[in-house]
Amino acid sequence: MSVLLVLEERDGRIGRISWEAYAAAQALGASANLPVTTVVIGANTQALAAEARAKHPGKVVRVEHALLAPYTADGYTIALEQLIRAESPEYVLFPHTYQVRDFAPALATRLGEVLIGDVVAIGDGPTFTRQLMQGRLNGAYRHIGSGPCLVSVQAGAFRAEPLAAAPDGDAAPVSVFTPQLEASQIRTRPGDPFRGAAQTVDLASAQLIVSVGRGIKEAENLPMVQELANALGAELAASRPICDNGWLPMERQVGSSGQSVAPRLYLAVGISGAIQHLVGMKGSQCIVAINKDPDAPIFEVADYGIVGDLFEVVPALTEAIKAARQ
């Protein structure tokens, strides 16, 4: 009886989203009075396990097998099913990543269960809150089956508090679990990950966009906004007049005659919000607008707005973001 937390590797380390899921696991474990077991999985999990051990005083399990790298849905599903049957946890938690979405529902099905995915909050009961209708409704779910309850946790829903390192002496041992896996059971052959073409600007799939409009006044002022974009790790885009003037290439235009974008964050700098622009970015999850005109239509659609001189706000913002990133 435990809360099993499956940690996910990102670039050779345990990713931040996994630590957020860990925070959720800890909270759930505390309220259900259950210990938390962390799981790392792959072909070579020693370093990952060490990382987990450094932050988690409880049980750490290494699910290791040569066929578990690279990631395949079949490999992870079979291996984790065996682990879960062996460990019999009450709860199995995952970070809600593309990878988890790929295998966890299959894993749940093998256990006769259903994953409660992309959870944003865990309440008494426990009840698990998910977003429905594209974020316009919240739904509270309960697990009523007899097997383990599988849950995946949305990025940013829980804060991965800086965790104190576990004192060495009290730490539980790191165990290794070797699943039974045959090569014939792995049906998919994944290739190496690659980036989309470097030259073309793919605004449509950018997660963060900083967009600049007429308020920027002159081409000379663009580097200031580019710096903001760099600090955020965002793509630079623009409204039509900027591209018409040739200050930025046409492929960076957002709007009815340019690209349609739906990033997580759309930061509109000096853009008034004419309809031709709005139709290109209305799908953004979060819109932030910086404009000196309080009546600019962009504020109608923005989630957050700063009414001010962008020449003051943008550098200040760049500084603040750089500081926050450290």
């Binding site: 009815s256 309809i275 659609v301």
Partner: protein, 627 residues
């Protein structure tokens, strides 16, 4: 002293051989004429019948016939000097009808116009006057075509030269007969010269655009009526103009009536800004198709003779159809071709697909959430229509979602409140479907029209006022196919009625008014918006105004089809408006407003301000008027 009218010399008698030769030539001439004209007539008659054609009321048709054909009104109005020259040639033709018949009867001794009688002489002189006018006219037209070479007539046409020569010869041979004596060999020579010219002319007619001599009076008389009348689809297999079998008799008749004058192209906003669309070529393309494949063919119309790219550059401004002197209705043809491409899914355009998908799933052409409109209505506390108010104020896509459109609505609301006129907005509105209608998507259009008609019925809407001429047109005309729309008017018509009760603005400016296509040519409303604009200053017209107004470029669904290539229609028009030296551009359509906003901004500082007539009307209202 009695005045004796001169008369042309008529040869006394003819040899049997001459009579036989004449008879043979006459038969040959008619046969050659028929050989070419017969198939044309057959192609027209074998085309599909127009499903919505009604001959009645005939009075309208007679009136149009007299005005446009007999009086040559459109021919003259558009291009006065050459138009008048053409009118002279046409009137001469009419006057010569009797003379020509008589001329042919003479050889058989059956001439009925007596050159010695008063009536005969009078008629011959009457015809002579026209002959002089005609000769002068045709000479002038020849010089214009071959030496002045106006652009819109297209490349030099040898056949036009030939026809001009033949007409000139006919007139000259007729006039010359006045100066010879009846007994002279000259009279006989002239008679034969005239006859041979005539018998040569006849078979030439159906080989050239001069077929319009025969067909255009029918084209004018039999026109669909109305303006830009898009026929309903007939039955389950009709998807628009897909192949030859879809061409109707009217379309075929019109295709063969084209005189290639190029007036349609001359006024086309696309042609004027370097786009591939040429309305004259669209019509001639149909003719070439019919000549090659005939009216029953399954061969797609879009192909060798029609370009898909071209027909999707049309803004449906109607300048072409409006003043075609031979009654060709370009818009049903262009929209018909679009229907053929869209209703079958042949048209692959990412912007077009986006527009259709947005209206398949949602309520507005911009693809925005209806909650945006709800928020606008709520934030400005606009009253909801509940059946008790006088007017239903139709917001439309632009009025409901576009920031500038919303400003126009709010100005109109201020004015209506000042006037004490009650109104409400519908809780839910769907796009009237204008862009998809003009682009030829009958599926989405039907869904929108039916849904809207249902909503209007259940809300007991009695009268609609709208800021958008496209909405007005679509509601009043295009929705008729699916139900009975309530009466609708444009806000310029509404405001003009109340203009006397509206205080004029303090600060008077020079305002240049741009006639929207869908208000002007489509609805015939020109004075009302000017009367309203006059509340705010002095109203001037740009060079091309009223019926000749030059499109802003947004119509025909083009506002939703992405960026224009080459010179932008809106920029070209904006330059024309600014050139009047006005301080304000007065608009009466939210699409014109959107197009000019960018175009004027591109002119830099000093460009005129852009205001809708509702905003101009509101300028004079007391500042502390409650909203």
């Amino acid at each position: 002293m009695t005045v004796v009218l001169p008369s042309p010399a008529e040869p006394g008698h003819f040899l049997l051989a001459e009579k036989l030769i004449f008879a043979a030539l006459l038969i040959a001439s008619v046969a050659l004429f028929w050989r070419r004209f017969g198939p044309v007539l057959r192609r027209i008659l074998e085309s599909k019948k127009d499903p919505d054609f009604r001959l009645a009321p005939v009075s309208g048709r007679v009136r149009d016939f007299v005005w446009e054909v007999m009086l040559q009104a459109r021919v003259i109005r558009e291009r006065p000097l050459p138009g008048f020259a053409h009118a002279l040639v046409f009137w001469a033709f009419c006057a010569f009808a009797l003379v020509t018949v008589n001329h042919c009867a003479v050889i058989f001794g059956s001439g009925f116009l007596d050159p010695n009688g008063i009536a005969g002489r009078f008629y011959f002189c009457f015809a002579a006057a026209f002959a002089v006018a005609c000769a002068a006219g045709i000479l002038g037209l020849f010089l214009r075509r071959f030496f002045v070479r106006p652009r819109w007539l297209g490349p030099l046409s040898r056949e036009s030269g030939l026809i001009a020569l033949l007409i000139f010869l006919l007139m000259v041979t007729y006039l010359a007969a006045f100066f010879v004596s009846a007994a002279s060999p000259a009279a006989r020579a002239l008679w034969w010269a005239h006859t041979l010219t005539l018998l040569f002319f006849l078979p030439v007619i159906p080989h050239t655009k001069h077929l319009h001599l025969v067909l255009s009076p029918f084209a004018v008389f039999l026109s669909r009526g109305g303006f830009s009348r898009i026929p309903p689809l007939a039955g389950d297999e009709d998807f628009g103009l897909v192949a030859g079998r879809d061409l109707t008799q009217l379309a075929s008749l019109q295709a063969y009536s084209c005189v290639e004058c190029g007036r349609c192209t001359e006024h086309c906003p696309a042609s004027n800004t370097g786009k591939i669309l040429n309305p004259k070529q669209v019509v001639l393309g149909l003719r070439a198709y019919l000549n090659e494949y005939g009216p029953k063919s399954e061969e797609p119309l879009i192909g060798r003779h029609e370009s898909q790219e071209a027909i999707f550059k049309c803004t449906t401004c109607g300048a072409c159809e409006y003043q075609c002197p031979v009654g060709i209705e370009h818009l049903p043809i262009i929209v018909g071709l679009r229907r053929g491409a869209v209703n079958t899914g042949e048209w692959q355009d990412s912007h077009g697909a986006k527009l259709f998908l947005a209206l398949e799933r949602g309520s507005n052409a911009l693809g925005l959430s209806a909650s945006e409109r709800d928020r606008f209505v709520e934030k400005n506390a606009l009253p909801i229509y509940d059946g008790t108010q006088e007017y239903c104020l139709w917001l439309g896509c632009m009025g409901g979602y576009d920031p500038k459109g919303r400003e126009i609505i709010l100005s109109l609301v201020r004015v209506m409140n000042h006037l004490g006129v009650t109104f409400g907005v519908l809780r839910k509105e769907k796009c009237t479907g204008d862009p998809v209608r003009r682009l030829g998507n009958d599926l989405v259009f039907q869904q929108l029209a039916e849904s809207n008609l249902e909503a209007l019925k259940s809300s007991n809407t009695r009268k609609i006022v709208s800021i958008c001429p496209h909405c007005v047109r679509t509601i009043q005309e295009d929705w008729k196919e699916f139900g009975a729309p309530p009466p609708v008017e444009h806000h310029s018509e509404f405001l003009a009625r109340y203009a006397s009760r509206l205080p004029p603005a303090q600060d008077r400016k020079k305002i240049v008014f741009h006639d929207p296509c869908y208000l002007g040519r489509y609805r015939g409303v020109y004075d009302e918006p000017r009367a309203v604009a006059a509340l705010a200053g002095q109203v001037v017209d740009p060079e091309r105004s009223r019926e000749r107004s030059f499109c802003c470029g947004a119509g025909g669904g083009l506002a939703f089809l992405g960026e224009e290539t080459g010179e932008r229609v809106s920029h070209a028009r904006a330059k024309e408006l600014t050139a009047t030296g006005a301080q304000v551009v007065g608009a009466a359509c939210p699409f014109c407003n959107t197009m000019f906003r960018d175009a004027l901004a591109a002119q830099g500082p000093g460009a005129p301000e852009l205001l809708d007539i509702a905003q101009l009307a509101a300028q004079g209202l007391p500042k502390n008027d409650p909203i």
